[in-house]
Structures are given as C-alpha cells and as structure tokens.
C-alpha cells in the first residue's frame, strides 16, 4: 500500500475502535452522570452531557437511609459462597474429566451439556415447590444451593480446560515417589491451576451477582433480598427516583467491574471452554 493510503486505513481503524469504546462506555457514563446530578437539575438539564453542579446526595441516601447496604451484603454472601463452593466442586470434577477415562464419562459430559441447553425458566416452578417445604425459600442458603448447581457444569468444563494445559508427567512423577494421587493433586496440580481457579471464581461470582429471575421467585422478604431483587422492588415501589436508582446501580456495578478486570485475561479461554454461558 502507498503511504497516504496506509495512513487513511490507520485513521479509519482507530476511529472505528473509538466508536466501539464510546458505544460500550456511554450507557455506563450516563448511569454515573444521573447518579451525581442533583434532583432539581435532573429534569431541566436532562440531555446535557454533564450537569452544571454535581452532588453525592443520592449515594448518601442509598448508603444511609435505604435497605441497599443489606441487599449488597446479601448479594455478597450469596455470590462469594456460590463462587467458592463451585470452584472447589468444579476443580474436583474438572480434574476427573481431564485425567481419567472412565465408564459413564460420555454420559456425564452429555448430561452437563444438556443442563446448559434447556430453558432454566422451566425449573422455576418445580424448584420453588421443592424448596418451599424445606424452608429454603426466602433464605440465602436456598439461593446458594440453586446457584451452585446451575454454575457447576460450566465451571467444570472451564476447570477441565485448565487442567488439560498441565502436563500429566508432573503428578505421575510424584506418584512414583510414593504420593497418593490425591496428595499429588492437592500439592502439585492445584497450586499450578491457581490462576485458573481465580478465573472460575470470577466467572461464577459475576453470574451469581447478576442472577435475577430465580432470586425474584425464591425471595419475597426484604431480609433475604439480593441486590437485583432490591433494585427492582425499588423501581416499582416508589415513584422512580432516577438519581437514587442509579446511585444504587453504581454500587451494583463496582464488584462486577472489579471482578471483570481481574478475570479479563482469562475471558478468551473461559468463554471458549464454556461456549454457552453469557
């Protein structure tokens, strides 16, 4: 290519990238903007890119006079417990999938793929019916149980892909030296997959943090509400206060973004291994 032509191509490429970045960030920018706009300016300066005066009143209200800190805490408990339990179960399961050939493996893989294909809304009614006599509706443990089961198949595939990347010779050498397979697994293989486990943790945390429909169905009281449920009831209960709603939205965004930058490096591997999950 001639020089001016190449320059034009480069400029077009950077401009296109810029368009994508702007499109990706604009809604989040607007979320932030509304959350710091004082109420008296919200309507008069509706379409201005940045208000002439910013306040943190909405954050103050949400943090000190609403139930959102409680919702935040509930969501944290649910998401962190789910993430940790799933990561442990998926490490064990993924290790078995990666290192052994055993009878029924084909069917187990098929079963796990099936759980990724059918509409989960189908399970809303039966799960409610099963959990309710056990006292597990309206409780965080019930929600954790359901989320763990939903996330285990995908996480197992993901962990399997990480184990596949570690040479088998490592634990074979340890076993020749007299270690049991479980010792080799725990002391040699697990430390090597720590980054993979961190990625799994991040994926599952994000999924549990975002889940809405099952939380809506299984939780009805304020005490056990997770963040999405609290935010939606906030929208329907009062005349919508956009400032407060968006301040709460920013709070919901913070952990998700932290985990995102943490797992960003593993996105390619994660989404390719799971291939099904959003």
């Amino acid at each position: 290519m001639t020089r001016p032509k190449r320059l034009v191509a480069t400029v077009a490429h950077r401009a296109a990238i810029l368009c994508y970045v702007v499109f990706a960030l604009f809604p989040l920018f607007w979320l932030l903007k509304v959350s710091v706009t004082p109420n008296d300016l919200l309507y008069s300066e509706g379409v201005r890119l940045w208000p002439s005066r910013t306040v943190f009143d909405h954050f103050d209200f949400v943090l000190r006079h609403s139930d959102f800190p409680l919702f935040f805490r509930n969501s944290m408990i649910v998401s962190l417990s789910t993430a940790f339990i799933v990561t442990i179960l998926a490490s064990l399961g993924g290790y078995a999938m990666s290192r052994f050939t055993f009878r029924g493996k084909f069917w187990i893989v098929g079963l796990m793929l099936l759980t990724q294909m059918f509409p989960l809304v189908m399970l809303i009614a039966p799960i409610f019916k099963i959990l309710s006599p056990l006292g597990l509706t309206n409780s965080l443990s019930g929600l954790i149980l359901v989320y763990v089961a939903f996330n285990v198949p995908f996480a197992t595939f993901l962990m399997q892909s990480f184990f596949d990347g570690i040479p088998k010779d490592l634990e074979e050498a340890a076993m020749i030296d007299g270690a049991t397979r479980f010792m080799a697994f725990r002391q040699i293989i697990l430390p090597l997959t720590l980054p993979g486990m961190a990625a799994t943790l991040g994926f599952v945390f994000t999924a549990a943090w975002s889940e809405l429909l099952f939380a809506l169905m299984l939780i009805s009281g304020v005490d056990a509400s997770t963040f999405p449920v609290g935010l939606l009831s906030f929208v329907s209960k009062f005349s919508v206060d956009f400032g407060q709603m968006m301040a709460a939205g920013v709070l919901a965004l913070i952990p998700a973004c932290l985990f995102f930058f943490f797992i960003q490096r593993y996105l390619v591997q994660g989404l390719t291994a799971g291939a099904v999950k959003g």
Binding site: L31, A96, P153, S210, G278
Partner: protein
C-alpha cells in the same frame, strides 16, 4: 483405584441431578397437571388440557412470533458487530489491551443493570436517546421507544446487542488469533486484495467457530428473559413478550405452575427441533464439500 474419578466428580454430579434434573422431570409432570400455588386442592392430572389451552392462547402465539424477532435480530446484530470488533482488535496497535478491556466491559455489567440502564436512556425525561431520535427526524416527538406499540421490541434488542457484542468478539478473536500468520503473508505476496484474503483465508478458518457460537447463542438468547422482564415486563400489551418471559410471568405473577411448565415444554421442544435442524444442515454442508 477404579472408583477415584467417580469420587472426584460425585459432589458436582449429585448437585446437578438433585437441583436440575429432578426438578426438570417434576416440571415436565406439572405440564400435565392442574397446578396453581395458592390452591391446595390443585395437583390432579388433567392430560393435555394445558396444551389445548396453549393452542388457543393468542398471547402465546404473539410471544412465539416475538421470540423469533427478538432472537433473530439480537443474534444477527451481535454477531455482525462482534465480528467487526474482533477483526479490529486482531490488528496490533498501541493501547490495544486497554481498548479491548473497555470494549468488553459491557459483558461484566449485570443483565438487570443493563436493562435498567437502557430503560433510562430510552426515557425522555432523563435519557438522551428520544431527543437524539427526534433531532434526527426519526421520531415525531421525543417519546419513549419502550412504550411504542410498533417498535418497543427494539429497546430490549438494542440493550441485548450492547451487552452481547463482547461475547461474540471474544470467541471470534480467539479463533482469529489461531489462524497462522504466514498464510496472510503468502497471500499478500501472491497479490491478493484484503477482501480476497478475508474471504478465502479468514472466513473458512472462522466458519466452525461461527457455526457453533451462533447456534448456542441462538438457544441462549431465545431463553434470555431478564432484559425484557426488567425493561418492559412484556408490555405494552404483550408486544415485547417472548416465550421465556411469558413462562416467567405465568409462574411468578399468576402462580400458575402447570401452565407455565406446559409452555416451557413447548419451548424446549421447539429449541430441540431447531438444534437438530442445525446439526443436520451442518452435516449436509460438510458432506457436499
């Protein structure tokens, strides 16, 4: 030890079976029973009554049409823009890591929050989009797109495209980066234009990834009710109701578990037929090659 792999995978399997498979089977049985939560006398078997009711249910047929519309446009646009983004990011440039992280960020935004966020952008009181559309002459007055009886579906579709582009971009980028670079160099030496290189190297290499992600994504999006529940709740007048959100409405608001499960079974059957058609199509195409 022969039992070892079973021990390792047992906890995960037990959970999957008890929390997913058992309820799935129970859910299928609900489809043939009169099952409402608040009525203690319900629970009797009623045969195919629910399915007869579905055949006559106008909302269901509307929701089915909407599902096709919602899934078709969402997948097509997510794929198109995801492919372009992947191609743009495949070229090394200064600041690529940061640009990539920022472009992928919507994927991390919880879906309920994306829904609320976009609902706000479409709101003429606090959001800019109605005023932009009005300024461009696309709208006669700055109204809320989400309450338009004809175009409301585009609200959730746009939110879904915004949220789902990263997924396609990430998977396609991974596939792009596995294409051997020397192929392009050889083609360039032979005088192939960029478009020719794209058509005869990039596309054939991407084809398997495209086929599998598009298929899985179609199933996933057809089942994805969160954005619609948050943004429009199926309204106005069920114009944005898709089958998945209709199932949720039946179970959650009307507490009619039997009818909800019957609709879910119809959806499941349709998705199975779709998947099988795709697999068959793929095999015929592969055989012809």
């Amino acid at each position: 030890m022969a039992s070892e792999p079973y021990l390792y995978s047992a906890p995960a399997l037990i959970l999957i079976v008890t929390v997913m498979l058992v309820p799935l089977v129970i859910g299928i049985s609900y489809a043939f029973r009169d099952m409402t939560l608040l009525d203690p006398f319900s629970g009797g078997f009623i045969g195919l009554d629910h399915f007869r009711a579905i055949a006559k249910d106008k909302t269901f047929w509307l929701a089915l049409k909407n599902t096709v519309y919602w899934t078709g446009y969402s997948v097509a646009l997510q794929f198109l823009f995801g492919l372009i983004l992947a191609l743009l990011l495949d070229k090394p440039f200064y600041g690529r890591g940061l640009a990539q992280a920022l472009c992928f960020l919507p994927w991390a935004v919880p879906s309920f929050l994306s829904g609320l966020n976009w609902a706000m952008l479409f709101n003429p009181v606090v959001g800019p989009i109605p005023h932009w559309l009005y300024g461009l002459g696309l709208m006669s007055a700055p109204d809320n797109l989400l309450s338009s009886p004809t175009h409301a579906m585009w609200g959730p579709i746009i939110a879904n495209v915004w949220w789902g582009i990263p997924f396609f971009a990430i998977t396609l980028l991974a596939a792009l980066q596995s294409i051997p670079r020397d192929l392009y160099e050889a083609a360039a030496i032979d005088g192939a234009t960029p478009f020719q290189r794209f058509r005869s190297i990039t596309l054939p290499f991407l084809a398997p990834t495209i086929a599998i992600t598009v298929m899985l994504r179609t199933v996933w999006i057809a089942n994805f009710a969160d954005l619609i529940v948050v943004m429009t709740n199926g309204g106005p007048a069920d114009r944005t109701q898709i089958v998945a959100s209709y199932i949720f409405t039946q179970a959650f608001r009307r507490l009619d578990f039997g009818y909800a499960s019957a609709i879910a079974m119809v959806l499941l059957a349709l998705l199975l037929v779709y998947s099988m058609l795709i697999v068959l199509l793929r095999q015929t195409l592969l055989r012809e090659r």
